[in-house]
């Protein structure tokens, strides 16, 4: 191909040369060029290698539809983007672009051997060629496919850019700033509506940019719109999807076109809610299907027109045109009048409008009616074509250096279809057109089928005298799908277009079939001998064109992906060397290692400190709900399994919460502060779920109850002080509360002050030791913590974390909902039937206690396990079997739910859900692990101080 820049043509700025590189070679273009137009102007025809066959490929189009010319742009410093379409890459000084899918170079590519091995890569080759033997997948098929096929390389560095997002509202949103979109904008602007007009290109104007006759109109119109206060113009902005209720997502590219990207956001995601949406996305020209239609230099006629009139680049010095549509003639005539030599216009139609033929003749252009291109000479660039009559007669060769295809037009109905607007087949267009809208939306211009540019044929492939099975005529350029692949898919039984698409991969990858879908439909229609409308249409899905993950993620990455919740005491834990873990969204101290300690050593030390002295623990993350109102006790009585009405103010109760299906969903200790006021606690992860559930019952089942629920999780800091010396530590700090065991027994709550701060002081224990949970207003949390810490120094106070909390509670057999239960565990299964008020007439989940599957025998029940070898700590999640010698797959009867080393006991302990577990006390169960089988005895899940005497210290 020998494209060249024409003097005095196009909109590029000849006074502003721009230097760039492609595959390491230096070139020069002008400001206003795309990478594609600049390379074309430098005579480059080879832009890439195809996906499967590694065939040399040039430009097919001049816009978003481009399937071939995919490049990677590396800006350095991790700013690397693969699979950009060269026509959509704006030129800037220093642009560094690389071709893809070739090795070692674009001109010499070893992968092109695939082209000659084409018979091994038929349609559905993924599905069938590599099915057997299975073991070859990992070692041979997958690695070789990955190396040979595929598009650009994924980035290897973290993206250094930032991305922003915004919401916008308008009366009228117009997508596409071609003539139809601009007209719609002018009209809405005049009606004083708030208008947003967006376009994916760097310049507004669409098709008008390639039509010198519209230049003056375009300039005036854009100036009027730019000056109107009620109009927002967004360039470089792609409407990627159309969602419910006229909600449009669009990405604006802010820095990709700049030589220096700067420090601002690279892209901005617009979330636009519009009163009315006007789609003016235009139409995309269809290629023609014939042998050699993918040789670099064969391109869409409309693309050649754009390169000429927008960028001043003639795609060749001797250009042949293959048309089945009047628009190809119009493009050819316009180009000829601009000084481009047209070698011939070939048209499959026997008769073409006389005005077009006469004008061609007047310009001295050779015309071949009733004829078709049947072959292209040249491999990396067009050297000539072979033409014959439609019946194969009169074959002749013609010299040319470019071939333009005019196969008709496909309206861009992508966004219309996202909005679930209906489509209707149009024989005139040979395409689907917008029909009945589903939103307040209309299509204008070509995308609505409202554009008159003559008539044409709608065909699948051009006729050829050669056997279609002997050559490749491409339908989907990006996926290397040929006409014979479609035929093969139909022969092998694919009848719906969805099947054909998946079998052949037609219409997949970055272009999503923008140039191939209709041709594939026509070919399938011919092969199946059914009308196109009967074949179906693949579903259009967002995004319209590929978008960066960055734009969609916006700020929601790294630390901002999900905010970490921290307690007021968290900074103290950090200062004291805590190792943290995430529990739900909370960051919690897991353990506090001293120098040289690993987790095991730290946890052993912390456990013994609590058992023998006193430990301090940040329990602020516990969910808390204040339940207030005259019916509060009645409400809790209906929600929880146990009775609440008789609970005296100042007393606490362990509450067990079921779902209506009878399974445990949450638990926690709660206190009655006053006759009409309860201080509820929930699990750390369950707070929001429990509040939602309680609100649901209160609002919709029992609206007659006078109760108010308030989340107080973040209002209180909670300091758990546990161990035989706990009372001694807080005694000097507490005022207004008699701490003596007689006045303040286990499971009681008192209000007073600690260090002068008002407190709800709970005497509760999740460790089995004497313990207090000090609730103070959150803002005082660290102050009180440090005071307790200071007072505890004389008693050897030790901070402990969640890991130690877990071990201590397991020694006592206390469950953790979500660890020892999994949403299928009833109170009876968990050994918590003591917490169920059997005399209560009703509570949430009660009726389900009598469900047939819940009263059935053999349910998994929570038991303790003691390994025969006390030094072995079972793995949590390990499966349990009764007979270790049975054949694989073994019958599994349960699994280990909790398992720890107990420093207190000097041995391992575990809890497990085991089928019929309560009846297996003393039995041996087996835990098969890689290379060995472990044995353990089933015991009651109570490993320490079964009498509970330590609680009463």
């Amino acid at each position: 191909m020998s494209a060249y820049r024409l003097d005095g043509m196009g909109r590029v700025n000849r006074g502003a040369p721009v230097n760039f590189t492609f595959d390491g070679k230096s070139y020069q273009g002008f400001a206003g060029d795309s990478l594609a137009s600049a390379l074309l102007a430098n005579g480059v025809s080879l832009f890439g290698r195809s996906f499967k066959y590694h065939r040399p490929r040039g430009l097919l189009g001049a816009g978003a539809e481009e399937p071939n010319a995919l490049v990677s742009v590396d800006r350095g410093g991790g700013r690397y983007t693969p699979n950009l379409r060269a026509p959509a890459v704006e030129l800037y000084e220093g642009l560094n672009a690389r071709s893809q899918n070739r090795w070692p170079s674009l001109q010499t590519d070893f992968g092109s051997i695939n082209d000659r091995l084409g018979r091994f890569f038929p349609a559905g080759f993924y599905n069938k060629t590599f099915m057997w033997p299975r073991s070859f997948w990992e070692k041979l098929y997958e690695p070789s496919i990955r190396r040979m096929a595929g598009l650009g390389d994924a980035p290897t560095e973290a993206d250094p850019d930032t991305y922003s997002a915004c919401y916008a509202y308008c009366d009228v949103l117009i997508v596409g700033a071609g003539p139809a979109g601009i007209d719609a904008a002018l009209e809405a602007c005049a009606a004083r509506k708030h208008v947003i007009l967006i376009d994916e290109n760097d310049e507004l104007g669409g098709g008008a940019l390639a039509d010198p006759a519209l230049a003056a109109w375009l300039e005036t119109s854009l100036r009027d719109l730019a000056n109107a206060p009620n109009v927002t113009l967004l360039r470089r902005t792609t409407a990627l999807g159309y969602y419910h209720d006229n909600f449009i997502g669009a990405v604006e590219r802010l820095t990709d076109h700049l030589a220096q990207p700067g420090h601002g956001a690279r892209e901005q995601l617009w979330r636009i809610r519009a009163g009315e949406v006007v789609l003016a996305q235009g139409a995309i020209e269809r290629p023609l299907v014939f042998e050699g239609n993918d040789v670099p230099g064969v391109m869409l006629a409309s693309a050649a027109r754009t390169y000429l009139f927008r960028f001043g680049v003639a795609v060749g010095r001797n250009v042949a045109v293959m048309a089945v549509h009047d628009s190809g003639w119009k493009d050819a005539l316009a180009m000829a009048k601009a000084g481009v030599r047209i070698a011939a216009i070939i048209d499959l139609r026997e008769t073409v409008a006389a005005a077009l033929v006469d004008e061609a003749k007047a310009l001295g252009i050779r015309t071949e009616l009733g004829s078709a291109v049947i072959g292209v000479a040249g491999r990396q660039a067009v050297k000539g074509i072979e033409v014959s009559r439609a019946d194969g007669s009169m074959r002749q060769k013609l010299a040319c250096d470019a071939v333009l295809m005019a196969g008709g037009w496909t309206p861009s109905v992508h966004l219309w279809s996202h909005s679930l607007g209906k489509l209707a087949w149009s024989d005139d267009w040979g395409a689907y057109l917008p029909d009945v809208p589903n939103e307040n939306c209309r299509c204008v211009g070509a995308c609505g089928g409202k554009w008159s540019f003559g008539s044409g044929l709608n065909i699948g492939a051009l006729p050829s005298p050669r056997d279609p099975a002997t050559f490749k005529a491409f339908v989907d350029f990006q996926n290397d799908v040929t006409a014979k692949d479609i035929a093969l898919a139909v022969r092998e039984g694919m009848k719906s277009v969805e099947h054909i698409k998946r079998y052949t991969t037609n219409g997949m990858a970055t272009d999503q079939g923008k140039t191939s879908n209709l041709n594939a439909l026509q070919l399938a229609s011919s092969a199946l001998d059914r009308p196109v409308q009967a074949i179906g249409l693949t579903t259009f899905r967002p995004p319209y064109t590929p978008q960066t993950f960055g734009a969609l993620a916006g700020h929601a990455k790294d630390a901002l992906f999900q905010p970490v919740r921290k307690t007021g005491i968290d900074p103290w834990a950090e200062e004291h060397g805590a190792v943290f873990e995430l529990v739900a969204q909370w960051r919690r101290a897991r353990y506090f290692p001293k120098a040289g300690e690993d987790m095991h050593a730290a946890v052993n030390r912390e456990c013994l400190a609590v058992r023998e002295g006193v430990g301090i623990f940040d329990a602020s993350t516990l969910g808390k709900i204040e339940v207030v109102g005259p019916d509060a006790a009645e409400f809790l009585n209906r929600m929880y399994t146990n009775p609440w009405k008789q609970l005296e103010p100042g007393r606490c109760r362990y509450g067990l919460l079921l779902r209506e299906d009878g399974f445990i969903t949450d638990d926690g200790v709660s206190a009655r502060m006053a006759p009409d006021r309860f201080h509820l606690t929930t699990t750390t992860g369950g707070a929001a779920r429990v509040l939602n559930m309680m609100e649901d019952y209160l609002q919709t089942e029992w609206p007659d109850l006078n109760v108010w629920l308030t989340s107080t999780t973040e209002q209180y800091a909670v300091i758990a002080l546990q161990g035989p010396k706990a009372r001694d530590v807080i005694a000097p700090l507490v005022a207004g509360i008699d701490l003596s065991p007689e006045a303040f027994p286990h499971m009681a709550v008192r209000e007073g002050t600690i260090c002068g701060v008002p407190t709800r002081l709970f005497r509760v224990s999740f460790t089995g030791e004497l313990g207090f949970e000090i609730n103070v207003p959150a803002a005082y949390g660290r102050h009180v913590w440090e005071a307790v810490w200071a007072a505890g120094q004389a008693h050897g106070i030790t901070p402990y974390g969640t890991e130690t909390m877990h071990v201590l509670r397991a020694e006592k057999g206390f469950i953790i909902v979500g660890q020892d239960t999994d949403g299928t565990v009833t109170p009876f299964d968990a050994g918590l039937d003591w917490a169920v008020g059997k005399k209560k007439p009703d509570f949430v989940g009660k009726r389900s206690m009598a469900r047939p599957d819940i009263v059935a025998s053999g349910r998994k029940q929570l038991v303790g396990l003691l390994t025969d070898d006390p030094s072995v700590v079972l793995e949590e999640g390990a499966q349990i079997v009764l007979d270790p010698n049975q054949p694989v797959p073994m019958k599994m009867v349960g699994h280990v739910t909790s398992s720890y080393w107990s420093a207190t006991l000097g041995r391992s302990i575990a809890m497990a859900l085991v089928a019929g577990g309560f009846d297996r006390m003393g039995e041996t169960i087996y835990v098969p692990m890689p290379g060995k089988t472990l044995t353990a005895k089933v015991v009651k899940p109570m490993f320490y101080d079964a009498e509970g005497s330590r609680l009463n210290g």
Binding site: Y243, D245, T700, R847, A850, R851
Partner: protein, 90 residues
């Protein structure tokens, strides 16, 4: 993103503020213990799952916090109307 009208706030707001809460008008039986296993199963698990018009519950969870009812078409995802909890089926 769907717009949903909260009948309590009397505002039409993006669905991000709302949470779906299952089929509507499935009242908890007044005396669950008096129900047969079959009737209790029907209450717990059996749902209409229609193609088309669906009476369902939503909660304005990031707004007023109220549960309310809606009629939504499960094919088109369009809300026909919303109404307060306790009002008869529409």
């Amino acid at each position: 993103m769907i717009l949903i009208h909260c009948p309590y706030c009397d505002e039409t707001l993006p669905e991000l503020e709302f949470a779906y809460a299952g089929e509507a008008h499935i009242a908890r039986p007044l005396d669950p213990s008096g129900l047969s296993d079959e009737d209790w199963e029907r209450y717990l698990f059996i749902r209409a799952n229609p193609r088309g018009r669906h009476n369902e519950r939503w909660r304005h969870v990031h707004g007023c916090g109220r549960f309310f009812n809606a009629v939504r078409d499960t094919v088109t995802d369009k809300f026909e109307l919303t109404y307060k909890a306790g009002e008869p089926r529409k």
